[in-house]
């Protein structure tokens, strides 16, 4: 142990402790002066505000903790929608950028350059305040395919009314579990005997047949509830029935997916380009069919490059969904760090809970990614 090793560490530690001590001392003094006591007891108190859009039942009589849940669920909802669409658009555009058709390549490149160089907040504002405000009023709306209504007050889509929904869900779970087993079996069979099993068609078949069986024999049935226009007052109309997607949700999901898709497209492009030509030629020369080349040689290698940065983009999308606060979509930041903070005045507790929520989400994903990276890393002898 020499002094040169210990001194810098001790100094760092000292500085960190001093800063934290200074902050916490001040916080204590300030809170005493304002007569606030630190604690998380307020979470069970009755919140007296309402939230416009929530997945679970919520009104003023519920607790602040439930408000937190409402916000969290809304964040998850918009993130999941955004991730799905961003992936679809991103993969399509990424492949289009590799096309040998000049027009397609340029169009994809223009899309990527355009959307990634404009701030996300500006895009959200654009969709919310400019584009979606140009939509017609509920009473003037022309239905799309007869059942979808895109209005200035939101997007009204038909809802499914289920009977025995649980049986339907069980059947899907059963299908997924059997698919996993079939995959394991197929891999073993391939390793031992060299015979390939058509896993994909079996999986699709199972996913269709099992839920179908539940309809035929399990007593499951579903009907569609189409939104119907309803007059509220002389000039106020709305749609009743079905599901209402508020314009905040639509513009947020739209902006998030269009913006993140540009980054995913670049990941996809880099991944496919990263597989060397020799690999494809080698695979073809040992007699694999083009489909097999894609499935067994190109995709596994491309995915190894694509998946880690793409997961990062998913994480970014989730964090960016906090911009919802700017257009009053009731996500975690708006409901909890906004309204609840205003009402209770507990800045430290609420901001720390909000930050911890995002932090735990991203740390758990990065732990998973490290594990995944280790698993798929090329094992060099």
């Amino acid at each position: 142990m020499n002094i040169k090793k210990i001194l810098p560490q001790l100094l760092t530690l000292l500085v960190v402790i001093l800063i934290f001590g200074f902050f916490s001392y001040n916080a204590q003094v300030n809170m005493e002066n304002r007569g606030i006591t630190f604690g998380y007891g307020f979470l069970s108190q009755e919140s007296s505000f309402d939230v416009q859009f929530s997945l679970i039942e919520f009104d003023g009589s519920h607790s602040y903790f439930r408000a937190y849940l409402v916000g969290l669920l809304n964040t998850i909802l918009v993130s999941v929608i955004g991730i799905i669409f961003a992936t679809i658009i991103g993969v399509v555009v990424g492949i289009a950028r590799l096309s040998n058709n000049y027009l397609i390549k340029r169009t994809a490149a223009v899309y990527v350059e355009f959307f990634r160089n404009i701030p996300l907040l500006l895009q959200i504002f654009f969709w919310y305040f400019a584009a979606l405000r140009a939509l017609p009023l509920p009473q003037d709306t022309e239905p799309m395919f007869g059942v979808f209504f895109l209005t200035i007050k939101g997007f009204f889509v038909p809802a499914f009314v289920w009977n025995n929904l649980d049986i339907f869900i069980y059947s899907i779970i059963a299908a997924i579990i059997s698919i996993i087993f079939i995959r394991i079996y197929a891999r073993k069979k391939q390793e031992n005997e060299g015979i390939q099993t058509p896993v994909l068609s079996i999986s699709i078949g199972l996913l269709i047949i099992l839920p179908l069986l539940s309809f035929l024999f399990g007593g499951v049935d579903a009907s569609v509830e189409v939104p119907v226009i309803k007059q509220l007052s002389q000039t106020g109309f709305t749609y009743e029935g079905g599901i209402k997607l508020p314009p905040e949700l639509i513009s947020l999901a739209l902006a998030l997916s269009l913006y993140t898709a540009t980054f995913i497209a670049e990941c996809v492009r880099a991944g496919v380009q990263g597989v060397s030509k020799g690999q494809k030629e080698a695979a073809a020369s040992i007699g694999l069919t083009p489909n097999q080349v894609l499935k067994l040689v190109v995709m596994p290698q491309a995915l190894r490059i694509i998946i880690p940065p793409t997961t990062n983009q998913y994480l970014n999308l989730t964090k960016n969904s906090s911009l919802a606060a700017a257009i009053a979509y009731p996500d975690l930041v708006l409901v909890f760090a906004g309204t609840a903070l205003m009402q209770t005045g507990r800045a430290i507790e609420i901001v720390s809970i909000t930050m911890l929520t995002y932090l735990s989400l991203s740390i758990s994903i990065s732990i998973f990614m490290n594990w995944y990276n280790k698993k798929i890393a090329i094992k060099e002898k």
Binding site: P8, Q9, I118, L122, F125, S322, V351, Y358, S362
Partner: protein
């Protein structure tokens, strides 16, 4: 005459295929063109869906006919190779061309033909196009925020001066090239700060930190004459002593009073705004986040466990939370952590928050570069007898940073794009100003123009930045 087989065009009847094909394609484009620019539907006699799909079908057949391998015509071959390799590609190409033709007229009419820019009130905007008058009237506010009109020359002057000082690197002669890094890292930020503080904010000439700055400047000047053996001790001891001496011994009340005279009108940061605030915030965050990120990345690879885990904690914390919550923290939670009588300006708090946030991303990017260097570089530097700092400054960092230019540029771009978020603390840069102008009762209903204007501005800034970083990358690319 060879037999014509329209399903498989070949070279033998090149002219027949070519003429038929080109006529069909031209006809299809002509139909769409007429339809979209002159609103004339020359095929309206056909039943509904056929007249809709007819151009597509005609063009598709035409493109199929001119798809002749090795035709000998250079132009035809290049078309076939680029947009017409197979049926699917031909279909997509046609679709793109038609969409472009279809969307040009409405865009043109909105942007230029039906747009208004004359006049100075809302009343002139009667057409269906954009109302650029709105942008013209509000242009000042979009650029300078609530900054008083009569004082805006101060912002212009500072920006021009700083832009000039920033480009000095291009004109430097060989002799001064080696000092450029020092200039950009240490001198330029200080000059920039003084410009902003004295000119834009109109601060007093003498303020609390003046002692520190004078002490630092004096000690750096003397430092040049100190033998390098004692330099380290010198720079630890002398500046602090000087500071204490200046503050508590040479304490001229009159001097300070004199210095506190304000030459320019004080404009508080709440009134700053618009594009100039975007530039100020991104400029300072850029300057601060890079060194912090550099130290964090070195710390993360350090052998000292405390420093290492401290760096990891810092990086993962800032990377794990959204910027908006960081800004929330800086605006509602951070004042709780300060003594009652201590007040830090909103703008300063925001700049610190964004710098720390982006520093974590910079750190991860630089770490990627450090990891990419082969061990041999470290070993070689050590075997030459270099210490930790010498090794990093002379050998490791120049190579590592060169590798990560694209990554750093991306982080900087993200930073510029993140600046609009400062609306959370009530600072209105350009996007915030747009939202304010949009709610002005005299100018309702022009949200679209504003956002399009800001998008174009941001696009130009960010696109130029990314192109510049690409050039930089090419310039410093060395073959291994």
């Amino acid at each position: 005459m060879n037999k014509l087989n329209f399903l498989q065009p070949d070279k033998n009847n090149l002219n027949t295929y070519l003429y038929t094909g080109v006529i069909l394609v031209a006809l299809s484009i002509f139909i769409v063109f007429l339809n979209s620019f002159f609103n004339k539907d020359i095929i309206s006699f056909l039943p509904g869906s056929i007249s809709f799909f007819l151009p597509l079908i005609l063009g598709f057949i035409g493109l199929h006919l001119i798809r002749i391998d090795y035709s000998g015509l250079k132009f035809l071959d290049s078309i076939n190779k680029n947009i017409n390799t197979n049926n699917f590609n031909a279909f997509l190409s046609l679709l793109i061309v038609f969409v472009v033709i279809k969307s040009l007229p409405p865009l043109l009419s909105w942007f230029i033909i039906d747009a208004n820019i004359a006049g100075d009130s809302k009343d002139v905007c009667t057409g269906s196009g954009a109302c650029w008058t709105y942008i013209k009237i509000w242009f000042n506010r979009f650029m300078y925020g609530m900054y008083p009109n009569a004082e805006q020359w101060r912002i212009n002057l500072s920006f021009i001066a700083l832009a000039f000082l920033g480009t000095i690197g291009f004109f430097a002669t060989e002799k001064f090239k080696k000092y450029l890094t020092l200039y950009y890292v240490a001198v330029y930020p200080v000059i920039a700060f003084f410009f902003i503080f004295f000119f834009i904010s109109g601060g007093p000439i003498f303020f609390d930190f003046s002692y520190g700055i004078i002490a630092a400047v004096i000690s750096i000047i003397i430092g040049f004459f100190i033998p390098s053996k004692f330099k380290m001790y010198y720079f630890i001891i002398v500046p602090i002593t000087l500071y204490i001496l200046l503050k508590y011994v040479f304490f001229y009340e009159e001097l300070i009073e004199l210095g506190k005279l304000e030459a320019l009108e004080w404009v508080e940061t709440g009134a700053w705004g618009g594009l100039s605030l975007t530039f100020i915030v991104s400029f300072f965050c850029l300057i601060f986040c890079f060194p912090i990120g550099l130290f964090l990345s070195l710390g993360r690879r350090s052998d000292f466990p405390i420093i290492k885990y401290f760096s990891i904690g810092m990086i993962e914390f800032w990377r794990g939370v959204p910027l908006i919550t960081v800004l929330f923290m800086s605006s509602v939670m951070f004042p709780m952590f300060l003594p009652e009588d201590m007040f830090i300006d909103k703008l300063v708090r925001v700049i610190i928050a964004i710098s720390l946030f982006e520093a974590a991303y910079v750190a991860e990017v630089i770490r990627g570069g450090l990891q990419a260097l082969p061990r041999g570089q470290y070993d070689a530097a050590k075997s030459l007898g270099m210490g930790y700092w010498k090794m990093h400054i002379l050998v490791i960092l120049p190579q590592a940073l060169k590798l990560v230019i694209p990554g750093i540029a991306n982080t900087f771009l993200a930073l510029v794009k993140d600046t609009p978020l400062i609306f959370v603390v009530g600072l209105l840069e350009i996007v915030g100003m747009l939202n304010l102008a949009k709610t002005n009762p005299e100018w309702l209903g022009f949200a679209m123009e504003g956002y399009v204007f800001a998008s174009v501005l941001f696009f130009i800034i960010c696109y130029a930045m990314s192109k510049y970083s690409y050039n930089l990358e090419q310039k410093y690319k060395t073959e291994r």
